[in-house]
Symmetry: C2
Subunit: 149 residues, 2 copies
């Protein structure tokens, strides 16, 4: 017998983006609504509607016609994973590679869906490590900045 609550749900990158956006809206406002999601993702409401039906089928969101959208526990867990991945990449791009915020966001949003767990873990560790090196070697950041510019 399959445990539906914890069964592996696999998401397309489009679905991950919807889930991420919903999670961010929910944590800001307590709930999400279609038109905001549509605006944030620059798609039409009808596209959002279709995506929400898929996410609801996968037990990730609570979605009843004409009412507020919230996350299920499973959806919240998934969303946090996606957001964590985004943050690791964003952090790497901004803090170490000194990419502009906008470019860091754009790249993270696209890349977060294409990375293996292990890669992801290593980038996280590598960022930690690099910051530690800054502390011990005052020349490091200076030389890196020169090279990147």
């Amino acid at each position: 017998m399959v445990n539906l609550e914890t069964a592996r749900v696999s998401l397309t990158s489009s679905q991950e983006n919807y889930l991420k956006t919903i999670c961010m809206e929910v944590s800001q406002n307590g709930y999400a609504k279609m038109s905001d999601i549509a605006d944030l993702l620059s798609v039409k409401k009808s596209s959002v509607n279709a995506a929400l039906n898929v996410l609801a089928d996968k037990n990730l969101i609570n979605y009843k016609p004409y009412s507020q959208i919230t996350l299920t526990p499973l959806g919240f867990k998934k969303a946090k994973e996606i957001i964590k991945r985004f943050e690791v990449m964003y952090n790497f791009f901004c803090e170490i590679l000194k990419l502009s915020r906008e470019e860091a966001v754009a790249n993270s949003c696209r890349m977060e869906h294409a990375m293996s767990e292990e890669l992801f873990r290593r980038i996280d560790k590598f960022c930690e490590f690099t910051k530690e090196v800054y502390g011990n070697d005052p020349n490091y950041r200076k030389r890196l900045d020169e090279l990147l510019s």
Copy 2:
């Protein structure tokens, strides 16, 4: 008037993968053929056929029914760009993050399509820089390896 030869051609990631594969086949054998491309990309010949028609329309390959497939000058230029991007990522994953070859290949293949030019340039520079640091600081690699393991 638009110069057709150098007009911006925008490719989907699927198309980039086809072009990359064709380029590698051409440099190995002098030409590419459908069934090899199909095997390398794990898709059916009919799917390759459809993709080749698109690439030919975009002036990237020479493709006549029942004959050998080669690259146009524009296609070769594009393919080299894609391969360069792949190599930069692969290098970063293998040399610095010490990912296994297989995982490095899989991740590079997926990520190369999602990166901005600038990000790409910075990762390249960053790899250079990091190798330089190894040379000057014998502890660096040791500490990094400990952390990543």
